[in-house]
Subunit: 320 residues, 2 copies
Amino acid sequence: MAIMVVGSVALDTVETPRGRRTGALGGACTYFSTAASLFSRVRMVGVVGTDFPEEYIGFLQGRDIDLEGLQVEEGKTFAWSGRYGEDMGDAETLSTELNLFAEFHPVVPESYRTSPYVFLANIDPQLQLEVLAQVEHPRLTALDSMNYWIDSQRDALTKAMSRVNLVVLNETEVQMYSGEQNLVSAADAILSLGPWAVVIKRGGEGSMLVTRGESLGQRVFVTPAYLLPSITDPTGAGDTFAGGMMGYLAETGDLSVRGLRQALVYGTIVASHTVQGFSVDALCNLTRQDLVQRYNDHRRMTLYDTTSAPDTDWFDRSIV
Amino acid sequence: MAIMVVGSVALDTVETPRGRRTGALGGACTYFSTAASLFSRVRMVGVVGTDFPEEYIGFLQGRDIDLEGLQVEEGKTFAWSGRYGEDMGDAETLSTELNLFAEFHPVVPESYRTSPYVFLANIDPQLQLEVLAQVEHPRLTALDSMNYWIDSQRDALTKAMSRVNLVVLNETEVQMYSGEQNLVSAADAILSLGPWAVVIKRGGEGSMLVTRGESLGQRVFVTPAYLLPSITDPTGAGDTFAGGMMGYLAETGDLSVRGLRQALVYGTIVASHTVQGFSVDALCNLTRQDLVQRYNDHRRMTLYDTTSAPDTDWFDRSIV
């Protein structure tokens, strides 16, 4: 089933210890779409300027991504420039030119309005609310955000989080929003707003899923990142994690605890490929077989007991 | 089967945001023994002074721990004092009085010499080598160490690591010893010395096991800590992790990939109990049922696929 995604499309200039790229295809919406298109049909909502290279349009079309909602306007595309240190941790932002993105108001095309899966990438929560007002009966809605909006638009963000089914944030963001250091308590504070589940992205440490449920092990899922010998460029890891996760959910339609947990692992696997190249390079020629292979290796990496799983009724239960 | 453990027995004064304890039962050897005694018979080698409380001797005897190798000498017991901050990370050491421990030379009693399992807790690697020279045909030997010995006794530590089967270190220590930031590469550097496996303790992040093998998922096991709402005192977490792990191995005798991985998870579970009380308090009344219950909940917390495991022949293979 189709996923609609709203967010930034950008031209990135990135420097890492492994090299440098200028004017590369970037932005949360682009990363998410490229990843999700490994599993499902994707519909983009965003804005670019007349400087946006034709070949990038061609690349996205080649992945069968619907670009009806991608506004092309007179002016310049959002441009970001950043540098990563030897630890490949958070990027040092060298420049951010919002350009056309500064005045962006998402317009959901008629043909997108009944999209069953909706992902609101990290943009002003006011705009996320505008998008939610333009869609009809989605099966699953999710949002991402960032420290900037937690500080400057807390009320709008709270409202947006209370209106989506899935909140996807990184570790620092859930702690910052909730004021809780303990990640389960932090996720619980967000769950109390209404979402079915909170997904916590933890970079090289992997990810966590917190839902409602009985025992800790039933309601909290903890899974490691796929270990890599080295990283080329961490940009887009979080967005392609979300894209892989949502793409897998839209493909399977499985909203059980099992379905969500497997979606997180597929997100993990897609993100592990992303960081092995600059921009979306490493996702270009990725096959389904590559994903399944690494998914199976992730299973091996985390396996310790092959006796039948303890009381799996909860595992098949819907999170809705 | 019996485990012999050599290391420090101490009187600890600990302050955490949850409270303060003076003269509490502490030391790596004590923590390890208490944890391992949940699974197997334990034989201690260490030294205490005449100030060591009778009740502590009674406590250890009550756990059926063999104290023939515990030297009681005229003088004072090793005393450590430390304080933990709100994050419960590394302790700030307020004072270390080595006392009798400064001149300690481990003497392995005749009745201990054929112990099938041997654990060398964190002491001078020269002493670890002295102990290895006093044991006969152990089935499994393991050692722990610390930054201080990596700096000051690198050659002796290298020699000791090359003579044991299992090296148990924390994340910072494997990185420091190997000069590698990547944990798998760091473990590989240690594996190249000869041990069968490297166990990396990662505190609140859980642990890793690196063995030889084909794919990443076959040779690297990554498993999270059991999540807790709060921690009372982190002292002894690493030592009781090792104690639970070695105790389980000695009980089952299973040196397959499966056996080792399950041992790591039992170590994880024991450590998760340890930090819920001061000193060894939380281990005192722990039952086997408590451990199995939390082990099963850890399985739930990490479970995402119940279809039959991918090619499990490697899983049953011996690591020897």
